[in-house]
Symmetry: C2
Subunit: 160 residues, 2 copies
């Protein structure tokens, strides 16, 4: 029997895999990062990331289809209609994903130049950290947390 | 001036981009997920993920080079030497990245089958959540956290 990717045949059961269907292609999370910086324009994304227009168009389309970005028409005086891309509520919910990637990169792949992004409490300007919290409010170390299979993992190979 | 990807020319300043250099290719984070499930063998990764041997070899090599997995030789009685792949301490530090992707996928791309993975407190079996915590221990909502540029973001285009 040929080996095929179950992900291309059946919807993935795994939430990580389903997230990566939207976010896992090169550039997608960097586009989201730029959107968190407040960038909204095609040309800004292209110039900041140095990505080709074709690929950027594709990735923006995927992110819009998945409800991460919304595409909004606007017109500046004397110009033709253009579009800007803004994070949806679902897109803004990616903040912990970016913060987790940022923290891991800072720790395990340091640039030597200090952090390029700092996640901080808006009200105080103090840095924040991303932590696991138990149901009773206890803060847990990562090694006090385990991953176990849930009901959605019951069917193989659809458990991707 | 041609647009090139700064990421291919200079080391990325952004911790997210540096993380994605290791983790951003298709399959890489799914391999890490499988490693968290306890899988260690090439053949298990290949069969669980339905990924080709060539691609799996490439991704495992990247993850080993980046210090996420370690490649350990072993020999079962009567067999030739084989290798297994185990998470390093740095690889285990990816737990929050996977938990954040899992939570986002559960919320925004639900499969309808319930969660395939549950992150829970080892000691109690109770589910845990990933939250932002302020320096003084206060738990913050995501919208109470902002992202600002740090010292590593000062040089453009190397601020990727």
């Amino acid at each position: 029997m040929p080996i095929v990717s179950p992900a291309t045949v059946t919807p993935s059961r795994c939430s990580i895999a389903r997230s990566l269907e939207v976010l896992g292609e090169k550039w997608s999370l960097l586009i989201v990062r730029e959107a968190f910086w407040g960038r909204t324009r095609f040309s800004d994304f292209r110039e900041q990331l140095g990505v080709s227009s074709d690929i950027l168009t594709d990735r923006l389309g995927t992110l819009v289809d998945a409800g991460v970005l919304q595409k909004i028409a606007y017109r500046e005086e004397g110009s033709r209609e253009r579009f800007r891309y803004e994070l949806t509520a679902g897109g803004r919910d990616l903040k912990p994903v970016l913060a987790a990637l940022n923290a891991w990169g800072e720790q395990h792949r340091p640039s030597g130049a200090g952090p390029s992004a700092i996640y901080r409490q808006t009200a105080t300007g103090e840095p924040v950290s991303l932590v696991f919290r138990a149901a009773d409010g206890t803060i847990l170390r990562d090694d006090e947390v385990e991953v176990v299979r849930g009901p959605g993992a019951s069917v193989y190979p659809a458990n991707l």
